[in-house]
Symmetry: C2
Subunit: 328 residues, 2 copies
């Protein structure tokens, strides 16, 4: 039997979005049909940011709607792209005179929806595609690398730039630059079960882990017996640092992301280990984000994301943000 | 095989606490022996708040250290009380001239540690005991009701009062008052596994839920087949509202707390359902807190906490707070 808090699979996404908005009445508004979550107080005279994707990755993306980050976010069904109508309606609703930057993770379904939405849009817009996952070059649901936990980093930094008055071209260029400076890789201990599925998304042995897993349970690089935290962090950090070609002395942001089913006590342990390993390689962590941000329902596992910072990115990361899931 | 991110069970708690402090260098400091986490910038001329308990409930309590909430928090091993030496050392370290308020959840081990620590303390101090769990009158690890997710509510409200200059007597009285105005009840779908245990903390059938479960997997009121979200919320809210004797028109704070293994999409659905059920009974939810705050490692399940607000509590709830897990 499905052990989940659900009444109707068909209503889950809409009612859950309503529950999020209910909890933040001063911050968020719900648009019911088509479904999206938007900032309660609209921006004026600034570039608006719109993101979205399948549900089941909460708090991504709706948890990042608010001043300093997204203007609206669209939720599809669990692990399913939002419709083009959701994306275009959200973009039109929050456009504030300076155009809309769309941010999408690189999955075929999401890309198709955002592309179709763009064909309908008569407002200025641009698209940033997130593909930070270094585990595999192509995957079950993507041509090219997948977009994973680095999405939050891009949305935060570009959101701050938009809030400060950057143009659409500047926001687009910055988003691409942060995405290129960001690399991620994850590991899963367990699978997860989509609410209307008969069985978990994939099978994994009682002693195995999937190195390089995707955030929908897609295969990664290989299976191996579960190892200690120090060994796992090495397996994840190696490809991430290789991809970024990070030199000694470089300053970075480190994001340890939980997939949903891993306790915070373990995520903080991973942070301790990863920060130490980076220091041993002469890499200076300047900022940290540790927690469940880009999840895969109740999957046990975690990913490590590194962003090679420059001064502008660091300043924008530190700028105020007020969302349900990120606030300072 | 244990599927957890761990190198050494003996080092887990200390290294995880170090990982938390590492991620918040401007906010927190680590005291290694005995182990506690404290605010980096000490208070002056204010009552200090110290809490603590077993690890495995993160972010409780160390995630709530910072301006507007706790001054220090002690972590024991997983599901094990901190030592008296941890509690007394933390209290002495953060005492700021106006005495220390100790906040403890009502479990025999925690109570004994805090009581022994009090015998050693030569500074002014008082104790608030949290016992908000209405599920059972006595439990495996407690004489009297257990302290659960309401702890966060008490720590936030009293922390704001201390920050504003309330005396030790006033903080103690307020803590007792918020605790009395707060009631919680939880449900578990799955168990959790303590890192050095051979097996999960309890067995539960593939179709069953434990109504009234404790945050260490202690038995609750009864087992039943898993039901829909609406039915489960009724089962939890009924005893909570009965305990508080809440009349129509009363204003409350609603806290939907995840036990660690339940995705946020489900917690927000629970919030939607609970808010609606309260409205149907004429109860006005004024503030919401939804997320994984008082967890039981990776247990799937959730609890509902209601606090009957008065104007002072509402004002103190809204006061600024800057901690790792709660910030506004």
């Amino acid at each position: 039997m499905l052990k989940k808090f659900i009444d109707s699979v068909d209503d889950l996404v809409a009612h859950s979005a309503a529950g999020l908005v209910t909890a933040h009445p001063d911050l968020l508004s719900l648009h019911a049909e088509p479904l999206f979550v938007r900032r309660r107080e609209p921006k004026r005279g600034r570039v608006a940011l719109v993101s979205g994707g399948g549900s089941g990755h909460e708090p991504l993306h709706t948890g990042y709607v608010g001043p300093g980050m997204l203007d609206a976010a669209c939720r599809g069904r669990v692990f399913t792209a939002p419709t083009p109508a959701q994306v275009s309606a959200a973009a039109q609703a929050v456009e504030a005179g300076e155009g809309v930057l769309l941010i999408v993770k690189n999955y075929a379904g999401d890309r198709a929806s955002f592309d179709m939405a763009r064909e309908e849009l008569e407002i200025d817009h641009a698209l940033v595609v997130i593909d930070d996952d270094v585990a595999v070059e192509h995957s079950t649901h993507s041509a090219g690398r997948r977009g994973v936990a680095g999405t939050v980093i891009v949305e935060k930094i570009v959101g701050a730039a938009a809030e400060a008055g950057a143009s659409l071209d500047e926001c687009k260029a910055l988003g691409d630059r942060v995405n290129a400076a960001t690399a991620s890789m994850g590991v899963a201990f367990t699978s997860c079960t989509v609410p209307d599925a008969e069985a978990p998304s994939f099978d994994i042995g009682p002693d195995d882990m999937e190195i390089g897993v995707g955030i929908h349970g897609e295969p990664g690089r290989y299976r191996a017996p579960v190892a200690g935290a120090d060994a796992i962090v090495q397996l994840l950090l190696g490809p991430v640092l290789k991809d970024l070609s990070i030199a000694r002395g470089r300053e970075v942001l480190l994001h340890v992301n939980g997939f949903g089913g891993t306790p915070l006590i373990e995520l903080h342990l991973l942070n301790h280990v990863a920060t130490r390993q980076l220091a041993e390689q002469g890499i200076v962590v300047r900022r940290w984000l540790v927690g469940n941000h880009t999840t895969s329902l109740e999957m046990a596992g975690a990913s490590i994301t590194v962003t090679a910072l420059d001064d502008e990115m660091l300043r924008l990361w530190d700028a105020p943000v007020h969302t349900a899931a990120l606030r300072w």
